[in-house]
Symmetry: C2
Subunit: 215 residues, 2 copies
């Protein structure tokens, strides 16, 4: 009934997208083992959720299963890649070539999923001109010029908290619409810019809370 792949008729919840991402990982695992079909129940068990949740998540995008049978592993994997926008290559710049920036630059998970790192930026003259693995470290003064020319899709922020908002303003001013923030600070950006923050301090405090408040 619904032939288009990624129709967001309704607004899709963040939690749903995260689960789709998890399902895709399991499917790739199953694909590697040569399994051809999988049920919502099996997918649910792996992902720590329920079969109804799996079916509901998928139903926002179409009807990919066969009643009485389950889902075709390769087909569903393909559909999920389409839905998640993993069919194309996304270009990334890393802003901040400190410890975390360097670790990310060398993280192989990026490439594996079609994320290609163009460059890292820093203001430290010691680092500018060097390479992280095979990624050039450039002067942060070039940031806007380079972005306008190379049009990266995503900016990854690994600068100190105090500088993060100013970097957001700079990359947004030259058209970046997606930001992955590792600085432990709340960022403000226009509504058409998606910001995801990974905040280790916050996660640790969540663990501290959990350890403290259980009877």
């Amino acid at each position: 009934m619904n032939s288009q792949a990624a129709v967001s008729v309704k607004r899709i919840a963040d939690s749903t997208v995260r689960r789709l991402s998890a399902y895709l990982r399991f499917l790739e695992d199953f694909e590697g083992r040569g399994l051809m079909t999988i049920s919502s129940e099996e997918l649910a068990k792996r992902g720590g959720t329920t079969s109804a949740q799996v079916r509901k998540d998928l139903s926002f995008f179409g009807s990919f299963g066969k009643r009485g049978l389950g889902y075709s592993v390769p087909e569903l994997a393909g559909r999920l890649r389409e839905i998640l926008g993993l069919g194309r290559e996304w270009k990334i710049v890393i802003v901040g070539a400190g410890k975390i920036g360097a670790a990310l630059a060398q993280y192989r998970g990026f490439r594996q999923r079609g994320f290609s790192i163009l460059a890292a930026y820093d203001n430290n003259p010691e680092k500018i001109g060097r390479k992280l693995e095979d990624i050039p470290v450039r002067d942060i003064d070039q940031l806007e010029r380079d972005i306008e020319r190379e049009k990266p899709d995503i900016a990854v922020l690994t600068v100190p908290a105090e500088e993060a908002q100013s970097v957001v303003n700079r990359v947004v001013s030259v058209g970046v619409k997606a930001i992955l923030n590792f600085a432990p600070t709340q960022l403000h950006a226009p509504a058409d810019v998606t910001v995801k923050t990974v905040n280790m301090a916050m996660e640790l405090e969540g663990l501290s809370f959990a350890l403290t408040n259980r009877e």
Copy 2:
């Protein structure tokens, strides 16, 4: 009316705890600037939420404000530290001394909030016996023995995805009740063990989805 500090009468939502953590950060910022009181409205603006949300979040734990005035910055900061369990020192072990493990070992945010890293563990003989900054890298074979002796509160996992579940099983078997997982995989643990996962691949896919599905 409610004299105890951290009474979880109701189950506190994860989202609430994350916001409390954010409020504390802002309060520390205000404290540094010598400001003495703050309203729920100001706290909300900074945190990208609403004043009602701030008041509701705090109301789960008591009545810390003064009507017509707002909150005392130092008092509220103290209360939040108490609620989040930041009054004491938490002991951490890092399992996996790869790029990310090394970056975390050197991350100053841990110490600042009272998280003290005891050691890192790896199975690579090249790394065992060395130090990351001033944190010893030990043989992962010692993991259980050391945990039983040193009783760390939190295990941070920076091992490959394939090994993550087995490390969970090992640390849980010797009493660890809180895990911060950086491996891109779904982990299963007993109900009394809190697991938080930081999954960069998932965040990136969330950005990919957002970039793909907007009209």
